[in-house]
Amino acid sequence: MKPLRIQLQSRTLENGLRVVVVPDSSAPIVTVGVYYKIGFRLEPRGRSGFAHLFEHMMFQGSENAPKMMHIKLINSSGGVLNGSTRYDVTNYFETVPSSALERILWLEADRMRALKVDDENLRNQRDVVKEEVRVNVMNQPYGGFPWLDLPPVAFRNWANAHNFYGDFSDLDAASLADVQSFFKTYYLPNNAVLLLLGDVQMEEGFSLARKHFEKIPAGAPPPFADPSEPEQTEERRGSVVEQFGTLPAMAIGYPAPERRTKDWCAMAILDQALHGGRAGRIYRRLVLEKQIAVDAGGGIHYPMGDVFDYNGPMQMVTRIMHKPEISAAATLEEFDAVIREIQEHGLAADELEPLKIKFRSDYYSMLEGGMMPRYGLMHLLACFTLFDGDPQLVNTILDGFLAVTREEVQAAAQKYLRREKRAIVFRQPASTGKEAA
């Protein structure tokens, strides 16, 4: 085994902006990311979907780069860009030829310092977001399943349980004043991290970051709502009608342990044992052997993220699409048999090592790829900076997972995969007319 060592440095500017630089000149391209520590989990009550709508507004113009100039300047530099809203962060990122590095930093700094948008921009993007929700959720078989369906069943705290894409009435109610106040509250240098990866020298990266970002004034540390959940004492169930698809589906969520604990490492290896592709126990038993399901998959933070990129209550989710002639109850019984087996017998003697090898292999792939070159590494560095204060964790975090024992995996299965702690949501095709179990 060849350990991977990523050369990186991080510093904090005077205004509290954290900066991470990862030089790698193997190709003349550079990936830049700005992550704000605000996601849909912590958006204001009565404004469901606002964090995501706001992400759209960040492309609508800033003081020195009017509407569309941000996109135009990046595309015309030979680069690509995007943004996304997650549970606990919102990110903005671009990959460009390194000749455009300073231009990109200027653009990101301009919109961190002075977003400049009007009512017309807000109306326009509200319409765009509604079409986004229609194309991804309302007009799509199994749209939003289970990422929008499970949280309202599983959680009691509004922060975790509300509609993250937003109710249309809430989107309609969002005003320009909301946009401005959200920007002032959360889009602060002291609530963000800037990441530079690729064809840039270490000192050059920090000096450009200082030049463009250091004068942006810091603000009061944002108030964060408490996302913690009350203790759960019995199984929770819910049901959603599937308008288009013909297969009944279900998603089962168990609480994940707190990040960066021994239990968390054990749970990740348990997750690999249960959900690791076609060799995973759930797919093997339900799809390959018993053939009651047509497809099955899952993971911690599935399908929106992974074991690393969240900062609050989270679930390990299994998604099962089963044959219509098999009842939901019978499907769940087979699923429960898989869980029971691992609780009672743990991993087989020769099972642990392959799980760790696959975990390591997946980790490397994640670092390298994603939506853009080095997206995965950027994303991980951002989360380790904002949630853990330590981007160097990318070089050491694997150790904890590779040290997990069979006993720890079994103990995690017994402690976390408990019926009274889980939530299940059934997605029942309207065409069959059958009620969920």
Partner: protein, 458 residues
Amino acid sequence: MAAAPLNDQCPLAPPLSAEHPVQWPRRTHARLSNGMEIVLAESRAVPKFTGQLFFRAGNAALSVRATGLADMTASVVRAGTAKRTSRQIEEDLRRIGADLSSGAGMDTTALSFDGLAEFSEPLLAMVSELAREASFPEGEFERERRHTLESVRIERTTPSFLASERLRKTLFGSHPYALVSPTEAQVRAYRLEDLSAAYQEIYSPAHALLVMVGDFQAETMLRQIEKIFGGWTGKKPAAQTFPAPPKFRGRGVSLVHVPGSVQTQILCGCPSITRKHPDWLRLALANSIYGGAFNSRLVMNIREDKGYTYSPRSGVNPLREYGYFSVSAAVRNDVVAASLTEIFYELDRMRALPVPDAELADAISYVSGVFSLGLGTQGGLLSQLGTVALNELPEDYLETYRGRVRALTASDVRSAARSYFDSASMQIVIVGDRAQIESQGALYGEITVYDAQGNVIQ
């Protein structure tokens, strides 16, 4: 958008600094005595490698026997060999940290894989075993058949699938490119012996291409490949000819009726060219200006100005024998006609007026810059190398690409638009609720209404 130079609109934006040269990695090419072609490139960002073993025949080659037969064959290939059961295959892959998938498109079949560099030998041995010794277990076949049946049912409820299926049927007529997916009846009619016959024909080194990128030393890897694949023999499948696709005069409109749909999927298309055609780069540049980039006319117009849609895009779709140009957008039900008006307005503007210099320069920079992003990952590079080899493009295609894009002019763009943005004969597909959109669609040509199963309804 106004065509004023960027710095007039954004005077404070820093200029671009000097470019660092783009260095494409050295490729190692080889051909084994059995005909298998090999392309290797080293890339060491992570201790992994990725590869694809292609066969130059896919669903089109088998279409006279059954639609989707090559894809079904590929699904069962990974489900058992003479030496390993399905379960062993999956566990052995996991043991070496590998992922593998098998599938077929219109023109090729591929085994795609990635894994840890330290386990390249067992992974290649697995790929070889799947390519040469698949055993087609009856039970695995029936399981995959059921899976495919359920998948094709769900496809028929997915607006983007229904749109592309209808457009392909319209554009390609009796040519096998018209058939993107099997019907349930076709899936039920697959026989195991059809799959093993297809396997015998397609999985042959005589028309195979192995592309690999990653953390390895190319010469050593080549020796390993020779050792593993050198003893394999087989012949090329017989070449086939297919009926020519139809030619179009005037627009046609197909409506796929999905009752209760809360949005309408628009997809328009017309015949264009393959990647080997001398006009390919001209078309690629024109497409990027029209609707291929975020910063394109179509996106600016119907998303950023009018808010009709989240995801408008145009694309050039090269298949081996023919290509087509397409425009798609999922829009609000009440703006279907308005969106089509803008789609055609922008097409006609591309055909009629020269692209302003500043916009042309931006687009050239975009198309040439984005091409180099393929260098950033093992998978990106693999995809570029696969495209070059499968299309038999020149050896220096990657190195000369930027220069050739930069040499293009406004008149190249306009001539490509005039040839391939066939606004007057675009074939239009709209997928949505008939009651809300039929009259809007009928404004654009004679309309035929289908149900989701593909039957014409009155």
